[in-house]
């Protein structure tokens, strides 16, 4: 496909370099009981990629050796990794800020319901994908019946104190646009979510993270199938905001793939772009000094994190 837009490197006018590792993001594998249409991971029940015990042990060893403040566990949905409970407990024992990105609905399955208590016990910050406050939009994006099940899960989390003031139990939601458009301003959407969820269901949460859909994986296929790819890329390019380059997540995050390979972000992981420019590419050769200031591997998908108010795993950045 020929590009009609300038390359990201050209637009960013220079190289992007990391400035330390604040967030150690671990992708436990691509298994999920949903197949959301915006999923850049293309996660699903058929995926077999799962982090091995030796790689898990190497992650823990690196975290023990270095005081990286945040452990961010993602997937797929992490609960479907059979060793996740033990791994989570070991992560919690390190006393860092610990967060889990869950698909939410898995917690209603009998086999996985115990994670509600495990998360509560270890004060894990729970991040749940909740793309839209309209039932039909969320179901269209994440699957039939998902909206109602998410409501049920959020109520269970609220009952345990999640999202309630003063509980110390953090419940954050993630908004991803339900189509070929960019997310609106986070504070506007957060206000809208807060009011709608409170009025309709009596649900409370802490923060809403607005995440721009990346033109990769299943979402890229959607853009191409619906003839939206060029328009979407142009919308991203036209919204390029140089101020976001100061705080893009690759500056402070290291992403560890299920197989132990190291990436600048979860998106590069899906594109198979390991860290480069001389930094070690696998957890077994982890070297903080060489990784902390590594040059980031960029591509045109990086327009996704730098459009408008920017986007990261924690939402807006500028």
């Amino acid at each position: 496909m020929t590009s009609v837009f300038p390359s990201f490197e050209e637009k960013a006018a220079g190289q992007l370099a990391a400035a330390g590792i604040e967030i150690f993001q671990i992708n436990l594998g691509y298994r999920c009981n949903l197949e959301c249409r915006h999923c850049h991971v293309e996660a699903g029940p058929h995926r077999r990629e799962l982090m091995s015990r030796p790689v898990m042990a190497m992650c823990l060893e690196v975290l023990q050796r270095h005081p990286i403040p945040t452990i961010d566990i993602t997937g797929g949905t992490p609960e479907m990794h059979p060793d996740f409970p033990r791994f989570l407990e070991k992560c919690a024992a390190l006393g860092r800020r610990l967060l889990v990105r869950t698909n939410g609905v898995i917690l209603l399955e009998e086999e996985y319901a115990s994670f509600l208590d495990l998360y509560t016990q270890h004060k894990v910050e729970v991040v749940v994908s909740f793309p839209h406050v309209e039932l039909k939009m969320t179901n269209r994006q994440r699957g039939e019946g998902v909206y109602s099940r998410l409501i049920e899960v959020l109520l269970l989390l609220n009952e345990r104190g999640y999202g309630q003031t003063g509980s110390g139990l953090v419940l954050n939601l993630v908004h991803n646009p339900s189509g070929a458009y960019l997310p609106g301003l986070q504070h506007s959407l957060e206000n809208h979510y807060r009011q709608a969820l409170r009025e309709k269901h009596g649900i409370a949460f802490n923060q809403l993270f607005c995440i721009t859909n990346m033109p990769i994986g299943r979402y890229l296929a959607y853009l191409q199938q619906t003839d939206n790819y060029e328009d979407y890329m142009m919308a991203l390019v036209n919204a390029f905001n140089p101020a976001t380059l100061e705080s893009v997540m690759c500056k402070s995050t290291l992403s560890v793939g299920w197989d132990g390979k190291l990436y600048d972000c979860d998106f590069n992981q899906m594109l198979g772009l390991t860290v480069n420019h001389g930094a070690p590419e696998h957890i077994d050769t982890f070297d903080l000094a060489r990784l902390a200031n590594r040059r980031v591997v960029t591509g045109n998908h990086c327009y996704g994190c730098t459009a408008g108010a920017g986007s990261s795993c924690r939402g807006e950045i500028a």
Partner: protein, 110 residues
């Protein structure tokens, strides 16, 4: 005629200050202030803008504010109701002008 209203020209809106930069800057400052969260939310303002865009039949604005409404989580039903408000207003404005016609008829007919 073929080049009028090209979709890509929407991106040129950022350049309307060309040839009159001081005025352009003032306009964008005003536009930004008027559209941000205030006594009305940015969401409500986007719906008003969408209604104006359709009544004024501006394809650029319809494109921009349909996208803006989607981005702000506005539902299809809310957007269509906003268009109907615009439509009802336009119909009312047309009908209100029949007052002139009716006054003239009453004056002129025997």
């Amino acid at each position: 005629m073929a080049d009028y209203y090209e979709q890509k020209d929407l991106a040129d809106f950022a350049n309307i200050g060309e040839y009159a930069p001081a005025l352009g800057e003032k306009y964008f400052a005003y536009y930004g202030e008027a559209m941000k969260d205030g006594a009305l939310s940015a969401r409500e303002k986007a719906l008003i803008a969408l209604a104006v865009a359709t009544t004024q039949k501006c394809p650029y604005c319809i494109d921009a504010y349909t996208n803006q409404c989607l981005s702000l989580g506005v539902s299809q039903e809310e957007m269509m109701e906003a268009v109907h408000v615009g439509s009802a207003m336009v119909a009312g404005i047309v009908l209100a002008h029949s007052t002139q016609m009716r006054k003239i008829i009453k004056k002129k007919e025997m």
